[in-house]
């Protein structure tokens, strides 16, 4: 097991490294000179000259890539053109808000989605099941950005129940400010997860070992949760791992609508100001988060079902 975890983390690092290198190469493909592409038209000639020297833009590409990777590895993502401070600082200030938002959305998705899906599977074809099915599919279909805007209009502007702007001060206030954005990002996933868990469980509930477990007198609860749900969670966890990428996107919309100081809003402002070092740094940060999420999902799956490790290679 330990060997698998180490291998999987190593793979994660390799993917992250490749992704970073690819990003660098991709940006180089843009029209214009590379320094402008990476730094944007706002950068002063002095900054561009420094950049050229540090990365050695006259050297062959593989050398440039290595230089870039070393720089990133050391935490040097360039200089924020607006604040004139290191990009890392800007990102570090904004990232926690996004992580909190995505975390809350995940909590919502699993906290509501998994029990609803399990309940629907156990009561298959009942009115409950059909209702959940309809609601789930409807939730999946509404774009988060629309939910965010409508939520903001209804609950903040019109009813005044929840705050509209920012992330709040202090723990309780933070939670209040987190509610609607998390809802906007996560509610669609509630439907998706419910559908997924329902489908997995229906398949598992038809398995021989479920009937056997019942024949030994195990309670419905034990059979449903300890035996059936456990086996059904694997695809759900995998989907959630990858889903963090989509959630990061939805989080960006929510942050912009609710003016939450997270990575998404930071990026949006940076784009308007042509503050490219920040936007590129943000991509790297988001990518790292996604790689971490998928790695964690795989490890979790291996812990839940030991057969998972053997299928990976």
């Amino acid at each position: 097991m330990l060997a698998f975890i180490c291998r999987r983390i190593a793979l994660g690092f390799m993917v992250l490294t490749l992704a970073t290198a690819s990003l660098y190469v991709l940006v180089q493909l843009a029209p214009g000179d590379p320094a402008s592409a990476m730094l944007g038209p706002r950068a002063s000639p002095r900054i561009k000259a420094e950049f050229r020297e540090k990365l050695g833009l006259d050297r062959p590409m593989p050398v440039q890539i290595v230089n870039y990777l070393i720089a990133v590895g050391q935490g040097d993502l360039g200089i924020d053109l607006k604040t004139k401070k290191p990009v890392v600082e800007t990102i570090a200030a904004h990232a926690p808000h996004t992580i909190a938002l995505v975390g809350a959305a995940l909590l919502l998705a699993t906290g509501l989605g998994i029990p609803l899906g399990a309940a629907a599977a156990v009561r298959r074809n009942s009115w409950f099941d059909r209702a959940i099915g309809l609601i789930s599919v409807s939730l999946i279909s509404i774009p988060p950005v629309v939910i965010a805007i409508c939520g903001m209009l209804l609950f903040s502007a019109h009813l005044g129940w929840l705050p509209a702007i920012g992330a709040g001060e202090g723990f309780r206030d933070n939670i209040l400010h987190l509610l609607m954005p998390a809802f906007a990002v996560g509610i669609g996933w509630v439907g998706y997860i419910a559908r997924l868990v329902r489908a997995s469980m229906i398949e598992v509930l038809g398995a021989n070992y479920i009937r056997n477990a019942k024949s030994f007198g195990l309670t419905e609860r034990m059979v449903t949760y300890r035996y059936a749900l456990r086996a059904s969670l694997s695809p759900t966890i995998a989907v959630l791992g990858v889903g963090v990428g989509v959630m990061l996107g939805s989080a960006a919309f929510a942050e912009i609508v609710f003016a939450r100081p997270g990575i998404g809003k930071m990026m949006h402002d940076a784009v308007t100001l042509r503050n490219y070092p920040v936007t590129l740094g943000a991509v790297l940060c988001a990518t790292a988060l996604l790689v971490a999420a998928t790695t964690l999902a795989d490890i979790l799956n291996a812990l839940l079902d030991p057969r998972f490790k053997e299928n990976r290679d």
């Binding site: 993917v15 990428g245 996107g249 919309f253 936007t279």
Partner: protein, 281 residues
């Protein structure tokens, strides 16, 4: 009766599927006939009538530089559909091709492609679009390129997994025992057997592309003027919410209806063609 025909009959009997089919049809038709249905040129500017509510002249009102919202919604639908359908098609074709090569080719190629898939999959799409879009100048082509590039790994992996799984079936063994070559088996037998589920998955991706396009355009790094997009209208609506609610409605409502319709349709398609229900109908 073949599986396809049984599936189609089941689909027509499912109320959700029928509803989705109708919505999707409405969208497609309105997109096709946009020039006929539009009342104005969607790019025509007339500052004098800016931010007006719906009226006889402008059925959904106007935006902040006086362009007719109804026409923009229609043409926005064109963009949404064009992007979603092309992106789906291209992703399936390129992804499927790469997945096939990965499954059939030498091991080193397979490992390389899988690593490539994993790498590209690790970029969150929207965030990537925010960064890369402006660098490459934005616009519909860049948007499509991003959407396709980040979806190719998904279909590549699915194709690869499906082909490898089929390749270990008994009937493939039987064909090899007969003397059939591997490539021929793949194209003549394996591919027809795996393509069905992949197409169903693709149909379920269409709403995702519609939402992605709208979202990226909302952020301002997607579709550019003179093209319109529901996302753009939504963005304008959000910025001018104090003046009129109609832009938000005009951008949001078609978006919701389109994604709802295609999602319902996709789910119903999946249920109808479930291989376990082969004997229904």
């Amino acid at each position: 009766m073949s599986a396809s025909r049984i599936g189609f009959r089941v689909l027509l009997r499912d109320p959700m599927g029928l509803f989705g089919l109708v919505l999707a049809a409405v969208l497609i038709l309105s997109a096709l006939f946009a020039p006929l249905l539009a009342s104005h040129d969607p790019a025509a500017i007339d500052v004098a009538v800016k931010l007006q509510p719906p009226s006889a002249a402008h059925w959904l009102g106007t935006d902040e530089i006086g362009r007719d919202t109804w026409s923009r919604v229609l043409y926005g639908g064109r963009v949404a559909l064009a992007v979603a359908l092309s992106a789906t098609f291209l992703s399936v074709v390129f992804g499927g091709l790469l997945g096939l090569i990965a499954a059939l080719g030498p091991r080193w190629l397979d490992q390389g492609l899988t690593l490539l898939f994993d790498t590209v999959r690790s970029y969150p799409v929207i965030i990537l679009a925010l960064a890369i879009g402006p660098i490459f100048g934005g616009g519909m082509v860049v948007l499509m390129g991003l959407l396709v590039a980040t979806s190719v790994p998904y279909y590549g992996r699915i194709m690869r997994t499906s082909v490898i799984a089929e390749a270990s079936s008994d009937y493939v063994e039987a064909l090899r025992a007969m003397g059939m070559g591997r490539i021929r088996i793949a194209l003549r037998h394996i591919l027809p057997n795996v393509i069905g589920p992949i197409l169903i998955l693709a149909s379920m991706d269409i709403p995702g592309f519609i939402m992605a396009e709208a979202g990226i355009s909302f952020l301002g790094v997607g579709v550019k003027a003179p093209d319109t997009s529901w996302g753009m209208i939504l963005d304008q609506g959000f910025r001018y919410i104090g003046h009129t609610p109609w832009l938000v409605i005009a951008g949001g409502a078609p978006l919701i209806l389109a994604t709802l319709g295609f999602t319902f349709l996709g789910e119903a398609l999946r249920d109808a063609y479930d291989p376990r229900l082969k004997r229904r109908g």
